[in-house]
Symmetry: C2
Subunit: 441 residues, 2 copies
């Protein structure tokens, strides 16, 4: 941060001692910024931040951050039970022991900042209640969307709105994979291998490609948007593994991109919460969010559509969000108001079962290239009250005597669609149902 | 706002009396939301908001908002000098008398919320100083970007970052016009007429199409990003009036969109601050921001590129931003910290003269279709130290014996480009210089 030219830096009125749990890539980044930009942090907050203790697994490991002798420890109690520490930054990740450490810190009257999406998605409302009880604050800007400002704008910029929906691309790994599949006609395996080579996907990519990571983040976003608890297990989840290069080609021909969307929607007195691949019309800005970038589109009744876009992961973006939380917290501590401002969730709305959700559908299937097959398909769909918007015959395999057809439906209920897909299997001439993708927006 | 199911609404600890200046479209929207969503506002803030007085020009005019007898007045003193009022919301627009009213309110120890870009751009730093002096707050979320959260994220989400640049599409009228020109091949006059018909452009469109509105907003954004004062008069400004339908076609062929950009950039110890049409590469998300939508892209050294997108104007989006300011302010008043948190600008950087800015350039010109003309052009550019990246001959007018050529340069200094353009006029065979557009990003 550029130092003020000629502006006097006031002596900090408060020195806040911080304990850091975890010194991985992001932990080291946060330690570095707090150390190297101490003057800037201080000018923003009117207080000073000192890294007092850092919990690591291996004390001998070099991390490229110069810390005073005695700062690093492998004993969690030396951090959590140190009465000098008033703020804990948790950057270990995973549910346990991170969750227990956060509980213990809050119960001891320490403020907590975390980037842990799993803990916040699973235990956020309970931890908030615990924080309120002890007059302290729990902040988690980095837990959703990495460096994209989301929590603060939701709380402070959109409070006058009734939020109708949130549609988000919140997993950079899958968005990178889908972008490569779309642009280069790659299959999933090829695009995934390339993402792994570049360090965008892990050796075991399950959490990303099955939508587990996105479901945690949606759980947090939905709570923010609708002021109600949406447990991660209540989020309907479908990964990207069934998509093929052909689906992207057909989507483009029909005027759509395919994105893994995390969708939260107000639907009467219920909430829709679902993560699945979706057809997004190409004229929507969300369809243009490519590569590792993330974006969260919010529809408010006053603002209309707003979108927040940026890098959802990575050392530096995540560090930016964690340090922003530190700065806001120290500002509140210096003003004597930390812990006074965390309203409880205001409502208690159920999550709508996926079977009751209504969307439009894209279905790709192989059929024998003979008259009458389409009539059979239309009959099954009609019985399930699904009306067809268009059917297009794509590739014909003359040797096998089969053709691939692509079918778009009008709005239909998921339950009906599922029974129709089951029914199609027994229609003479219908071969493989290649894929079924919901259309959003 | 949906009322809490089962959650108790606490009795507000503070009742904040508000005076509203101006009851146009936005003023009526704000009055309506504050009245109709009083319970929601209260649940967010722990305080209650009462519209105590409203200053209007014509007391008889109906506005569709039910206000208690005696609320509406045509006398500014009845609002500004009422000791019961602690918050003034200024929605009159324009420099005077809005500016004087805001000064008077701040000096009387009243907090002020405004949507007035002109006043904030011209007098923001002075008004902030006045607010600090009197221990009150001046908030202006609606002054830039309408319903797009910007001020709060800048202050609270990005403080750990050194901001390298801000690139913004912050005038919906011109973005609508440019989108129509680009998509339908319309000329400016046709697109403007259509925008006027739809109510997106005013009868006198000067403020929009000459970039005056965008320059005010850039002045505010640059102050936020670089913590330095950028006076609106110091912003270089060029409107969209020289663009033709052909420029959009050529831009697309070269892989660019044309957008009216407001650009703030850190350049050594100086700031670039300029509003002009720009070629934006089609793979940038900013190039996809179409129609009346606005977007602000910020490049931070930690977050990387983030973008905020939404509706930059209109009754409801602007109301959303004003009410967000009201909620934050009442929250601060209830906590007893309002007025403690407004840091002064930290630096004092000059605005770089436009002549010293370096960009790439697109130039479209008519030449006689004869050998040697290009050599003359290349000679003039070479003398000005401008190297040519590409020259393409576009349309040939065989009867006139002329051809249109499009030239793209490498990075060059504005001063050199200007002298080259002047020099080209005297090159034999060079006719009209149709347009010169800077390339950004």
């Amino acid at each position: 941060m550029t130092q003020a030219t000629g502006a006097a830096v006031e002596a900090p009125s408060h020195v806040v001692q911080v304990g850091l749990l975890g010194m991985g890539v992001v932990g080291a980044g946060v330690a570095r910024v707090l150390t190297e930009r101490a003057a800037a942090v201080s000018s923003h907050t009117g207080g000073a931040v000192r890294l007092h203790k850092v919990l690591v697994r291996d004390a001998a490991k070099a991390r490229g951050v110069a810390l005073p002798e005695g700062t690093v420890t492998t004993q969690s109690a030396s951090v959590l039970d140190d009465p000098a520490i008033s703020v804990i930054i948790e950057l270990m990740g995973g549910d346990e022991p991170a969750h227990s450490y956060i509980r213990r810190a809050l119960a001891a009257g320490k403020h907590v900042i975390t980037a842990n999406k799993e803990v916040i998605a699973r235990h956020g409302p309970d931890l908030m209640a615990l924080a309120r009880e002890h007059g302290v604050v729990l902040r988690y800007e980095a837990a959703v969307g990495g460096g994209i400002p989301l929590i603060v704008p939701f709380h402070e910029s959109l409070p006058a709105n009734e939020i109708a929906s949130v549609r988000a691309i919140i997993n950079g790994t899958t968005n990178y994979i889908l972008t490569r599949m779309s642009r280069e006609g790659l299959d999933l395996a090829e695009a995934l291998a390339s993402a792994q080579e570049l360090g965008y996907a892990e050796a075991d990519p399950t959490n990303d490609i099955e939508g587990i990571d996105a479901a945690y983040k949606l759980s947090i976003l939905a709570s923010l948007a609708f002021h109600t608890r949406v447990a991660p297990d209540a989020v309907y989840r479908e990964g990207i593994t069934k998509l093929t290069a052909r689906d992207f080609r057909y989507a483009a021909e029909l005027g759509y991109a395919i994105k893994l969307l995390a969708i939260g929607k107000r639907n009467g007195g219920s909430i829709e919460a679902r993560v699945h691949p979706a057809f997004v019309p190409l004229d929507r800005i969300l369809a243009k969010v490519d590569g590792v970038f993330n974006a969260v589109e919010v529809e408010g009744d006053l603002t209309g559509e707003v979108m927040f876009y940026g890098r959802g992961a990575g050392e530096r973006p995540t560090t930016s969000a964690v340090v922003a939380d530190v700065i806001e917290l120290v500002r509140a501590i210096s003003s004597g108001v930390a812990g006074r401002e965390q309203p409880p969730l205001r409502s208690d709305m159920p999550v709508l079962p996926m079977e009751a959700v209504r969307t439009r559908y894209y279905v790709r299937m192989t059929v024998t290239d003979k008259p009458g097959v389409l009539a059979g398909i239309a009959g099954v769909l009609g019985e399930a009250h699904i009306s067809i918007a268009s059917v297009v015959q794509k590739e014909v395999d003359e040797r096998a005597g089969t053709a691939e057809i692509v079918l778009m439906t009008h709005l239909a209920q998921e339950a009906g669609m599922r029974s129709a897909l089951a029914g199609l299997a027994s229609v003479p001439g219908v071969g493989e149902i290649g894929s079924m993708v919901r259309v959003e927006g």
